[in-house]
Structures are given as C-alpha cells and as structure tokens.
Amino acid sequence: MADHRDAEECVSDTWLRAWNSMPPQRPAVLSAFLGKITRSLCLNRFRHDHAQKRGGGQLPLVLEELDQALPGGTETEEELDRRQLEQTINGFLAALPEKKRAIFVCRYWYADSIDSIAARFGMSRGGVTMCLSRLRTDLRECLEKGGYAL
C-alpha cells in the first residue's frame, strides 16, 4: 500500500479478524491464512481510496497487468462462477514449474515490485518482466480454453 498508515491499519485489522476466527477455524498454513486476510483488507482499502483518487503503490500496476490476462470480448455484468474460475487458476498454477509459479504468486498475490522479485530470484528486471508477460499470455490462453472468452 502506498500509505504507511493504511498499511498499519490493515495489519491491525488482520490480527483482529484472525483473533475472531481462530478457533474454530484453524488454517493449514498460518502465514497464508493471515496473508489472505491482509490481502483482502488491502484490496478493500485500495478500492475505497481509488474511488477518492488516492492510493498508489504496486496495486494499480498489478491491476493494469492483469488486464492483459483477461480473455477478449466485451465486459458484461454476468455473474461469474467464481469457484470454477478459481479452479482454472489453481490448475494453471499447478502445471507451472515451481519457480515460475512463485514469480506469478509474488507479483499477483503479494503485489511485490518487479525489483524485489528480481532480487529474490536472482534475475534481471527485464527477465522478470518478460517472464510475467509470458505467464499472463499463458493464463489468458488457459482462461480462454476454460470457456471464459465471451
């Protein structure tokens, strides 16, 4: 998140929500469980800020990139089968080599910057950008095969 205070609030809200949900819900992987709560809170905060022309950071860039993975066609208001979409994305990720999957997750789940991904995987900035571009194209093809093209 661009604003440090927003980020701190999201972290505080994460602890509160985790406190409320454990038990009875015990996550298999605690870090991912907490991360999913934080991610959801951040996205909500981002939407709110974006509506008021605030915000910044990596999220606008990540959203812009994800547009390139969207199947073609006109946008409709139809209700998507979210479960099926999640299944398709999970299937897409399961078929990727570990490193490519991790790069995808770093960018589109964690919204990590290109520089930080490059440093993590010992790659050049251009190498990461190229890898992500190919992954978006592959995801788009996978979604189209899954019947998401309109």
């Binding site: 929500r17 409320n20 949900s21 038990p23 009875p24 819900q25 015990r26 996550p27 298999a28 992987v29 605690l30 870090s31 991912a32 469980f33 991360g35 999913k36 709560i37 991610r39 959801s40 809170l41 996205l43 909500n44 990540v62 959203l63 994800l66 547009d67 993975a69 969207l70 199947p71 946008e75 998507l80 979210r82 479960r83 099926q84 979409l85 999640e86 299944q87 994305i89 999970n90 299937g91 990720l93 399961a94 080599p97 570990e98 490193k99 999957r101 991790a102 790069i103 997750v105 770093c106 589109y108 789940w109 964690y110 993590r120 995987f121 010992g122 790659m123 979604l143 998401y148 309109l150």
Partner: protein
Amino acid sequence: MKRQDLLEAVGNIHDRWVEEAHAPRKKTVGWMKWGALAACLVITVVLLLPGTALQKPQEPEAMAGPPSTEINGIHYILSSYLEIETELPQGFEYGGVGEVDGQSWEYYVNPDIPTWVYVYQEVYDNITQQSSMKYVRYVDSRIRGKDYISYDGRLYVSMWSAAYWGENPDVTRERYEQVEAEYGIRMKGQAPANFVHLGKAEFTGHDTIPDLPLGCNTGSPEVYLNTEDETILLAGTVWHTAPDANGEQRHEGYNLYILCDDPLK
C-alpha cells in the same frame, strides 16, 4: 470477466503456493558456488575467443520451502503449527545430529511417533528480540499441513490441504476437480439433505494421522457423511471475511473432506 474477478480469484489460490513463493530462498551450497565460479571462468575464456556463440547460463531452479531436514531418508518440514518447546517432549530420545538449512543441530526421535522429530536449535523470538535454544517440531512432509478426519477405518483429507500435484498426491487431479466442481472447497449454509450427522470428531492432536472411529487432527468439528457417496465428508466450520454484499463478515458452513490413501504408504 472483470479484472476484479481475476484479482479475487488469484487471492484464493492454494495456501501452499502462497507459502512457497515467499519462503526463504535456499542458500547456495558449496558446489554450486564453485560451479558458478567455474561457469564464470568458462564464460570469460569463451569471451576471449572471437566469434564463439555464448549461451546464457540457466538460472538454478532449486526452490526453498519452510525449514526442513532429511533424517533416515524421510523429509521432515517445520510444523505448520510452529510447535516449539522449552523441554524435550516425553518419549523422545537423542537420535543424532542433523542439518537444517545448512546448520547442524541435535535431533530427537520417538519410535512411537515416527512422523515427528524434535530439533534442538536456535530460535529467534520476534517479540523479545532474543535467541534461545528450543526443541522445534518437524513433521514428515507427507502429512505436514494436512487436515485429516478418520471415520470407520478410513482417512479423509480436507480439500484445503489436499494436493493433486507433486510426487505423492493425496487424490487424483480428476477427482479433486470433480468434487470441487460439485461442492467447492468449503460450502456456506446448511448441509445438503443427503448428508447425515455422524457426531463430533475427537481431536487427536496437531500433526497426527487420526485413527479413531471419528477423529480429527485440527479440532473437534461436527462431521457429516454423504450417504450417496461415502468418499465425501463435511466438517462444520466458521470463517470471517471482509464485509460481503450484505455486510456480513461471519459465515457458517462446512469444509469438504475427501477420501484419501494412506499418506505413508
């Protein structure tokens, strides 16, 4: 489809991939350092030869996960519950010296619980900002992070933790996707009419493989059996989300469990 749908769907990928992506990277081992040095020398030499085609060296593909160790051919990974003890748990005895992420530590075994080892290692406390020696539980990678329910001699794994990829998948991808398409990983609301209430499962302890007539290794949920397909169970649960369209944050429902093979076979 809108970008928001895609962004939210990406948010619900498997937990293990979320963990995997931000896991500490493995330190380069000695031979790799020397290998890289040798490769550099080769490239330097090649660069001195005009007109020679250069091939870009491949990035090492090795990924690191959570801290882990290999003992007697079994791969043990840090417990997903972060079970850390000051005293050595009862029944465990000295097993030898093992290696975790390049450092050597003593480990302790219990013949009655071969799926666990305790490693006596340095642990850093984020709150006190101090390091101390503790007994840390490592769990057989085949069962680590898996949510199981035992019923009537059969073992079921939660759809959350079931893997249909890798060397030892819990279920086939076809079966996983079939169940996911029909019921999802978790369902909200009341159990469908074809599910009968079996009772409250007995908690068998974290990181265990339950073997009771109705046991569970994550808690004591109410369990329901699909009478039309006994390979599927439901376990009662509650979860919280950001406010949905109706402003609701607390949701009640069921986690899906599917029949799996013996994970240690």
